[in-house]
C-alpha cells in the first residue's frame, strides 16, 4: 500500500535554518546539514527545503548549498527557492534533487511549469501555493514572494491550472496557520483536494502528531508537512530536531 508522507519542511535564511510564525519573525534553529543528518537517522519519509530569501532578494538558487544538501540526504528531497527558469530546474536535478518546488515563478510565468515537466517529467515538478484568508475572511487568496504580494487568485483554481500545466504535486502552505502549531486548516484542504488528480501536500499549522493523524485519517495517502513540529519541543519551543518513529507514525 502507498503510505501517507510525513514531511519535515525546513526553511533556509542566510545559510541557516529558521522557523517563522505567519511567515514573519524567523527564529534561528540550526545548521541545515546537521539537521539533514539527524533526519537521516530518523528515517524521515521525505524532506522539503525552501530557501525563503532567494525570490525576495531576486536571486537564483544557491547551487553549492543545494548540492551539499542533496548529497547528504538519504531520503527524497524537494528543493525550492529562487527557481525561475527551466535551466535552473535542470541544473538542480543534476545536483541530485528529486523534486523542484516552484512558487512565485509559477504564478508569474506558468509556462515554466510546462517547460520543467517536459524535461524532468511531471513527477519532479512541485508547485507550492502560499495561501492566506482574504481581509474579509470569506475567501482564500494565493500570495507570492514569501507572503509579501497578494495575487488575489483563488487557490483551488490555481492548483488545477498548475496540474494542467504539468505540476506533479501541489503543496498548499497556509500563511495564517504557519508556526502557530494549532492544527492544519482543513477547510482549505477540502476546497483544493477534491478536484485535483495529482498528489497534494499540506503545510502550515501542524502542532502535534494528532494534527497529522487527523489529516491522514480523513484523506489517506496525503502529504502531511510541518516545520515547527519537527524542530521545536515543548511549550517554550526549545529547538530539538525530532520525528516520530515508525510505530508512532503508524499510530498517528
Amino acid at each position: 500500500m502507498l503510505y501517507p508522507r510525513i514531511i519535515p519542511c525546513l526553511l533556509v535564511k542566510n545559510k541557516g535554518l529558521v522557523k517563522t510564525v505567519n511567515f514573519k519573525n524567523p527564529k534561528y534553529v540550526g545548521d541545515p546539514i546537521n539537521a539533514v543528518r539527524i533526519f537521516n537517522e530518523k528515517e524521515v519519509d521525505e524532506l522539503i527545503i525552501l530557501d525563503i530569501d532567494a525570490t525576495f532578494e531576486k536571486r537564483g538558487p544557491d547551487y553549492n548549498m543545494v548540492e551539499n544538501l542533496a548529497a547528504e540526504c538519504r531520503m527524497p528531497l524537494c528543493y525550492g527557492g529562487g527557481v525561475t527558469t527551466s535551466d535552473q530546474v535542470q541544473r538542480i536535478i543534476q545536483l541530485g534533487v528529486e523534486k523542484i518546488a516552484i512558487s512565485s515563478a509559477a504564478i508569474e510565468n506558468p509556462n515554466l511549469v510546462t517547460e520543467a515537466a517536459e524535461c524532468m517529467g511531471n513527477q519532479s515538478v512541485v508547485v507550492v501555493l502560499d495561501v492566506k484568508k482574504s481581509f474579509t475572511g470569506d475567501k482564500y487568496e494565493v500570495w507570492t514572494h514569501n507572503g509579501s504580494k497578494n495575487t488575489g487568485k483563488c487557490p483551488a483554481e490555481v492548483a488545477l491550472q498548475m496540474e494542467r500545466l504539468g505540476a506533479g504535486e501541489i503543496v498548499i502552505n497556509s500563511i495564517d496557520n504557519d508556526g502557530l502549531m494549532k492544527g492544519y486548516d482543513l477547510a482549505l484542504v477540502e476546497k483544493i483536494r477534491e478536484s485535483l488528480r495529482v498528489p497534494l501536500t499540506v503545510l502550515g499549522g501542524a502542532g502535534s502528531l494528532h494534527d497529522i493523524g487527523r489529516l491522514i485519517h480523513k484523506y489517506g495517502a496525503i502529504g502531511a508537512a510541518a516545520g515547527s513540529l519537527f524542530v521545536f519541543k515543548g511549550v517554550y519551543r526549545a529547538v530539538l530536531i525530532n520525528y516520530p518513529n515508525r510505530k508512532k507514525k503508524m499510530g498517528s
Binding site: M1, L2, Y3, P4, R5, E43, D45, E46, E67, A70, A71, E72, C73, R74, M75, P76, L77, I93, Q94, G96, V97, E98, K99, A117, E118, C119, M120, G121, N122, Q123, S124, G168, E169, L196, R197, V198, P199, L200, G220, A221, G223
Partner: protein, 204 residues
C-alpha cells in the same frame, strides 16, 4: 569497481554516499574511457524519458555501455527512469530505449484508478518479491521503498519481473534479465531497505 554513470541526470553522489557507508568502492563515470575499468554499472535517472535518452546519447557513453552490458555481460542496475530506459520504448517519449530488457514503458491511467489514487505514484510503498533473486535478498513484503513516477515498465516476458508493487493493480517494480537489473523505486533514497538492495547489487 562499481561505476555510477553520470550523464547529467540523477543523484550520482547519493549512490556514492551509500556505498561509502558500506565501504564499497565506486567511481563516477563521465567519459567512455572510464567505463573500461568497471565491473558493475549503476544507471540512475530523474527526468522525462526522451530527455534522459538524449542526455545519455550526448554523453557519448551509450555505445560503450551497450558493449560492456551486451557483449561483456557487466551487471547493470537501472534506477527509476534508468529502469525505464532499459525498455524498447516509452509512451512518455518518441526516442527508442536501450532495449536491454524486452518491454515497454506505459503511463498509469488515472481514470482506471480509484479516486483516492493519484498520478504520479509518489511516496513509500511495499514491494512483493515474486521469486528468489540475489538483488532482493533479505527484502520482503515489509520492506518499503520510495517511488516517484507516472510511467511504469511493462515487461513482455513475465519471467523477467522479479517483484511487483500494488498501486491499484500490480506493476513491475523490479526486473532482471541476465546481467541487466532495473528498479522503479529509488534505493538510494530508501533508507535501510535501499541500502540493503544496493549492497546486494554490489555482491552479485
Amino acid at each position: 569497481m562499481i561505476g555510477i554513470i553520470d550523464y547529467g541526470l540523477g543523484n550520482v553522489r547519493a549512490f556514492a554516499n551509500v556505498y561509502k557507508i558500506l565501504n564499497i568502492p565506486t567511481v563516477i563515470v563521465k567519459k567512455p574511457g572510464e567505463l573500461k575499468n568497471i565491473s558493475k554499472a549503476i544507471l540512475p535517472g530523474v527526468g522525462a524519458f526522451d530527455y534522459a535518452m538524449k542526455k545519455l546519447e550526448d554523453s557519448g557513453l551509450k555505445p560503450l555501455l551497450d558493449e560492456i552490458v551486451l557483449a561483456h555481460h557487466v551487471p547493470v542496475l537501472g534506477i527509476c527512469v534508468g529502469m525505464q530506459m532499459l525498455a524498447r520504448s516509452s509512451e512518455e517519449g518518441a526516442l527508442p530505449g536501450l532495449g536491454w530488457i524486452d518491454g515497454e514503458v506505459i503511463r498509469f491511467n488515472p481514470s482506471s484508478l480509484r479516486h483516492s489514487m493519484r498520478v504520479p505514484h509518489m511516496g513509500w510503498n511495499n514491494i512483493k518479491p515474486l521469486k528468489m533473486n540475489s538483488l532482493l535478498q533479505g527484502l520482503d513484503f515489509d520492506s518499503r521503498f520510495y517511488f516517484l513516477h507516472s510511467y511504469y515498465f511493462q515487461s513482455h516476458r513475465s519471467e523477467d519481473v522479479i517483484a511487483v508493487t500494488d498501486y491499484c493493480g500490480e506493476f513491475a517494480c523490479a526486473v532482471n534479465s541476465g546481467n541487466v537489473y532495473g528498479v522503479q523505486f529509488h534505493p538510494e533514497k530508501s533508507h535501510q531497505w535501499g541500502i540493503r538492495l544496493l549492497e546486494n547489487f554490489a555482491k552479485l
